[in-house]
């Protein structure tokens, strides 16, 4: 967004607050007309005002990803280099912020080591993965995997996501780069590389997100979204392809496992005329879609999922979701006019 548009929006925002306050008492909303979005077991009310901050002090650009830390705080990663990481409490109150050196800050994963929280940040402009403490001290940086022979130079490495195992091993998805998945030990030493660009089963088009799935303790695996293909793919920890879960119409961002369900922000609907046609998607423990807040109700015909698409223009480009310990959900949006996250209260 241009600076001019940004200024226009911020001045409108303050104008909106001043002018509408005079008419505020004229509006009375019946509690019964609160929007409820979603289907079946996963339905939510929508709090658009959650986490709104003073744009002159704590601005956001794209809100890329969010996690909840061990203290229950909500951690947001934005590519605004005035404050790349913003930490909130669950009510949306600002606690602190840090980070000015992540112009392509995209992937955010919480790592718990011996009772201490760390963060793994992917930065597609720096072509790096960076491990930091929860308050922003850099632990290590990982550059492109030059020894693998899969990359000509660092510019081909544009990592979008990480996921971490119990033993500290982690995987990096190069969703905006050459589409490889790289596997490292806890020290950041490369162990394996697999995937690559393509529409075949074991390859990706936009390997945007990756998530360690240990819901089945005997068969832990990796879930990786091939966003452009509208498919969630499962691999074993060695990088062997296992299965595909198609989600027709849904450009799914990263899978987020909370308890036995998988949650996704869907950037946009594949065949919608408007680009800002995103929604949210929730799968149950059998990887069946059970709820799509902001979109068509999931329905299966001969065990094939019908194409999903946005039905109400509430979300713009949802990019990540975070589910807190109260089962409420936070939605970070990309290219939404520099808006702060939205909170959904489960009903």
């Amino acid at each position: 967004m241009s600076r001019r548009k940004f200024l226009k929006q911020s001045s409108l925002l303050s104008l909106g607050v001043l002018t509408t306050s005079m008419y505020g008492s004229a509006f009375s909303f019946n509690a019964n007309s609160d929007v409820i979005i979603g289907h079946n077991s996963h339905r939510y009310k929508v709090d658009m005002a959650w986490g709104n901050l003073d744009v002159s002090k704590t601005p956001v650009k794209d809100c890329h990803e969010m996690v909840q830390d061990s203290k229950g705080r909500i951690v947001l990663l934005t590519n605004h280099t005035k404050n790349n990481v913003i930490i909130y409490d669950k009510s949306g109150k600002f606690i602190s912020s840090w980070g000015t050196e992540y112009p392509g800050g995209h992937g955010l994963t919480l790592v718990k080591e011996n009772g201490e929280d760390f963060l793994l940040i992917t930065d597609y402009e720096r072509h790096q993965v960076i491990k930091t403490t929860i308050d922003g001290k850099v632990v290590f940086e990982i550059n492109y995997p030059s020894d693998t022979g899969k990359y000509n130079d660092k510019s081909e490495f544009k990592p979008t996501e990480t996921t971490v195992l119990e033993n500290g091993d982690f995987y990096v998805a190069d969703g905006y780069g050459n589409q490889y998945i790289t596997h490292y030990n806890h020290k950041g030493e490369l162990l394996n590389i697999f995937g690559g660009r393509g529409a075949e089963d074991d390859k990706f088009l936009n390997a945007h997100g990756i998530c360690y799935d240990n819901r089945d303790k005997n068969n832990p695996s990796l879930l990786i979204s091939a966003r452009e293909l509208n498919i969630l793919k499962r691999f074993d920890l060695k990088g062997n392809y296992l299965e595909s879960v198609p989600v027709p119409g849904a450009l799914i961002c990263r899978p987020v496992i909370h308890k036995n369900d998988i949650y996704f922000a869907v950037l946009k609907s594949k065949n919608a005329p408007n680009s800002d046609s995103g929604f949210l998607l929730i799968m149950n423990d059998r990887n069946e879609v059970v709820s799509c807040p902001g979109a068509t109700a999931p329905s299966y015909t001969n065990s094939k999922l019908e194409e999903l698409y946005q039905t109400v223009r509430l979300f713009q480009h949802p990019h990540d979701v975070c589910i807190d310990d109260d089962e409420n959900m936070y939605v970070a949006q990309w290219n939404s006019g520099q808006t702060y996250p939205i909170k959904l209260i489960r009903v």
């Binding site: 505020g24 007309s33 709090d47 658009m48 919608a272 005329p273 680009s275």
Partner: protein, 262 residues
């Protein structure tokens, strides 16, 4: 802007009603546009149009004379069978949510059969459609730019189409994709040279875009009104992406769909 207004209201309400969360109300959000699908947009004998927005209590209304559908327009109940060209507009209404924007669909009469097409410019390697005849194969593309009925160019689309014999052509209709979010822009101008005679030239300029718009398929109509054996058609891309766009200064894409001669 729509969300910004919602946002302003909510900031306010959270201030005036301290302590209680003011949740989003359905009258603050619009429905998405209805999905409209036609068996073809080129009519040989007839085509069938379907419209849907799969959300409870939604009603879709439509018009076929170009006016915006109100709730007193015809209600969509079942697929519509159409045998004449025209523009259909569909709009979704709901008791709680605000009405949708309009989805527009234009149907054309199937064009004259062209004998040959000779290309003077190359399409992009990635978006070459279904080969040289894609623009005269009497099949229109969908809204999705990766549909193989689209042919993408980054400078100019230039080709000569010929008939077997001299044929009276009333008009040429050029269809293109307007999807500025994907850096695909309407052309700047179209030149048609009749029978390879540089003095028999028709030029059509296209009004440049001034801001972001939802993606849609558009057409421009160029009257010919004469007997011709061949037409050299040159569709010029805009020089560079305009200032108001995030990609300003860079090359824009030009995506061509069917060239229809009637």
């Amino acid at each position: 802007m729509r969300l910004l207004m919602v946002f302003c209201c909510l900031v306010l309400f959270s201030c005036t009603q301290k302590g209680s969360t003011q949740f989003l109300q359905s009258n603050q959000v619009s429905l998405a546009q209805p999905r409209v699908m036609a068996t073809s947009t080129l009519i040989d004998s007839f085509v069938t149009i379907k419209a849907e927005l799969k959300l409870g209590d939604v009603s879709i209304y439509y018009t076929s004379e170009g006016e915006e559908p109100s709730q007193s327009a015809t209600k969509y109940e079942r697929p519509i069978r159409v045998s004449n060209s025209g523009t259909f507009k569909f709009k979704a209404y709901h008791p709680d949510w605000n009405p949708s924007e309009v989805t527009e669909l234009t149907l054309y009469k199937k064009g004259l059969d062209v004998d040959t097409i000779v290309w003077h410019s190359n399409s992009s390697e990635k978006y070459k459609g279904q080969g040289e005849n894609t623009l005269i194969n009497q099949t229109k593309a969908s809204l999705n730019f990766s549909d193989p009925q689209w042919v993408g160019f980054d400078t100019i689309a230039s080709a000569t189409v010929s008939f077997k014999d001299n044929t009276f052509v009333k008009a040429l209709t050029v269809s293109y994709l307007n999807d500025v979010g994907s850096w695909i822009f309407p052309p700047e101008s179209i030149t048609v040279i009749l029978n390879e005679d540089p003095s028999a030239r028709k030029i059509k300029e296209i009004e440049p875009l001034k801001s972001m718009v939802s993606r849609k398929m558009e057409t421009v109509n160029i009257p010919i009104d004469t007997e011709v054996q061949s037409l050299r058609i040159e569709v010029h891309n805009i020089q560079s992406i305009p200032q108001w766009h995030e990609g300003h200064g860079a090359k824009a894409w030009l995506f061509m769909d069917e060239w229809i001669l009637n």
